[in-house]
Symmetry: C2
Subunit: 420 residues, 2 copies
């Protein structure tokens, strides 16, 4: 029998307990041993939970408990769970965590501390989709060329609504909050931070890159409007919040931002709260993994898969390699990332403005690929939508600054990256 202690008995923790009990037949058969949830640590013992395990408000009673074989960390946060997971590992316990923030900041220290003890985290990225296993095991013969993921179901739900039903951002955010898809303070999701945490974990497995959220380009979906949606439809794009990790000329770029992506790309067809990750390997070619990225049961499905792996005696190396990965792979400075861009301007409706805009771009060396100007005036201004060929972030930022300096433009410029 393997005894499990749980830190944090919220939605996912309750699902873990229930599934271990209700699917006990198949879990025991697959693990070769009975797996029993024994104790859970919670903040507030007075809050009612629908599970019949012992509860404590002292997490040390889980972490220091000599009976417990596997500690499951589902608390959220960074430093408190780090301290507890570290203690659990020092006590010789195996650990399963769904905590992407913990790993975004401490995965390399934790790998060091874990040593040969298993520390698994399938649930930390893309919920129920077994993408960690796919990348760490199934595609391990490949140099990974790129990872492109829809890693945040809240954003994907909102963008799908905006595109399919023409609902504006503020309205769809309220809907998402009412449905429980978005938090009261939605920043962590809509700002791209949640997706960035997940992407950093994937990038570590693929490339061994030790970066923190602060080191990478992160933009959220807050400024997307119906005119962007209209443009996307007109030119055959979908708008998705994408996490991208990609090898370019021996370096690695890691970035999260709203993206225009051709409707024919497999990942562009992923709608609603679903997640998907497309991985291109140098030998396997293009693969894609699709499924629910959140939800108590789907996330618990991944947590328990890790528990079963531990019960089977599989150790894996935590980040997918036993010694240093590819040497010399460095993170590219965000300013040097190259992309095609979509520019949205609201310009004063007077003669010579288009000429002024295009000559600023031309001075900055930015060449234009397509232009859309529709005859719709709002308060003396018209919308001018452009796409560019491929340039560096630094170049497009400079061009945007110069555009803003034009009297006819001012602050009315925004940009979105086009992903191929």
């Amino acid at each position: 029998m393997i005894k499990v202690g749980i830190l944090g008995v919220g939605t996912v923790g309750q699902s873990v307990v229930k599934i271990l009990q209700e699917n006990g037949d198949i879990i025991s058969a697959r693990a070769g041993v009975k797996i029993v949830p024994v104790i859970g640590a919670v903040k507030d013992l007075n809050k009612k939970r629908g599970v019949d395990i012992e509860l404590t408000d002292n997490p040390m009673e889980v972490v220091d408990n000599p009976e417990i074989d596997i500690v499951v960390e589902l608390m959220g946060g960074v430093e408190e769970p780090y301290r507890l997971v570290k203690k659990a590992l020092e006590n010789g316990k195996s650990v399963v965590t769904a905590n992407k923030a913990l790993l975004a900041y401490h995965r390399y220290e934790l790998q060091e501390i874990a040593g040969s003890l298993p520390l698994f985290y399938e649930a930390s990225v893309a919920g129920g989709i077994p993408i960690i296993g796919a990348l760490r095991n199934g595609l391990s013969a490949n140099h990974i060329e790129s990872i492109v993921g829809i890693l945040n179901g809240t954003c994907n739900y909102m963008l799908t609504k905006m595109i399919q039903e023409g609902v504006e951002y503020d309205e769809v955010l309220k809907e998402a909050q009412a449905l429980g898809y978005a938090e009261a303070d939605p920043t962590f999701d809509v700002g791209g931070f949640d997706a960035a945490h997940k992407l950093l974990i994937l990038a570590s497995i693929a490339y061994g890159i030790d970066a923190k959220p602060e080191d990478i380009l992160i933009e959220g979906i807050e400024n997307i409007t119906s005119s962007d949606v209209e443009f996307a439809k007109e030119f055959g794009y979908e708008i998705k919040l994408l996490g991208i990790a990609k090898k370019v000329n021996g370096s690695v770029e890691i970035r999260v931002h709203p993206s225009m992506i051709k409707s024919s790309h497999p990942i562009a067809k992923v709608d609603g709260v679903m997640n998907a990750v497309s991985v291109v390997g140098d030998r396997v070619g293009q693969t894609m993994f699709y499924g629910p990225g959140a939800g108590g049961d789907a996330t618990a499905s991944a947590v328990i898969a890790d528990i079963i792996e531990i019960a089977r005696g599989n150790r894996g190396p935590m980040l997918g390699y036993k010694r240093g990965l590819e040497s010399g792979l460095k993170l590219i400075n965000s300013d040097n990332i190259e992309s095609k861009y979509y520019l949205k301007l609201k310009v004063l409706d007077k003669p010579g403005v288009l000429a002024a805009v295009t000559s600023v771009l031309s001075e900055c060396g930015i060449s234009i690929s397509s232009v859309l100007q529709k005859d719709s005036r709002i308060q003396n201004r018209v919308r001018l939508l452009l796409t560019t060929h491929k340039f560096k972030e630094a170049d497009i930022k400079e061009a945007i600054e110069k555009l803003k300096a034009l009297e006819a433009v001012g602050d009315n410029v925004s940009m979105m990256r086009i992903v191929e």
Copy 2:
């Protein structure tokens, strides 16, 4: 250092050797040890191969070789590789195979023989897609509700061409043969047998069902015509050769056949030679895994992933469970499988025929869901296309026999199942 011997150095075998050598940096880092291909057994030593390992025409020099740690079986066939894999396991060697026919017939004996030695087979199903790992490990907390797969790239390429370009079966088969996607004798692919072998492997992991190809419903794509394609388009379906394993009322149905599937289903969007497997688990919900189902490098990617797992010391249980899986799960007799059906009739163009057809169906208790009769006459006959509500295979077969007995119909009836 881990030394690998290969049985069968064809396209996949050559890719395995090349990738182990060319991607040696990342493979060593991930495996924690250098993996070296040492010897390969081939039928004809005079045939040129583009790899620099020792070659022999005596497979026992691989299987009995005391230097070899892992035997990779890529020969094809059933009884000869069975004998050799058995010998390798008896000699204490780990085994990796890409041979779906071997496993379709001998997976349970091999599991027995392997005992605690790893016998891995990620490459046997859906080429480079790590679906075995997903099902065996990533989704192991779930009772699997259904598996629906596009498991044969040849058929999917042909059907995509027929649907998108209106090319007839015979012509697209010639094209597929010219491109190397189909064999000179294409029966194994177009007859559904290849997909059936793969499906049986997946069904074993999900359900523990010990069935052989002879025990299940297998139909190929040979009789699909442009009128079926036309109907599919008209009613919003795609036509796919699907492998389906599904739990229904405590039993399991396993079947491979051309299917009408709604264009909106994620798997309906998978075109060309690509493979995809959709898995629904009781806790995770719907997942899908997509990628290249064939090709030397993609298949070798999966073979080497297994080698790396063995090098890491992971043992897994071969079929995903250490003791009997769910008790009482039995294979449903094909006659009792329930489905909606599409019926295609070419009937004599005379009064009363539609009435005769519908009254035969009504006598058999088959109720009709939709009818399409277009005003296009071929040699005195018109096409009548129908869909039905849900009935058992036995009922629809009886109805078809009775329809054939009608003078106005004769042998001009064919059927395709509709999958929801």
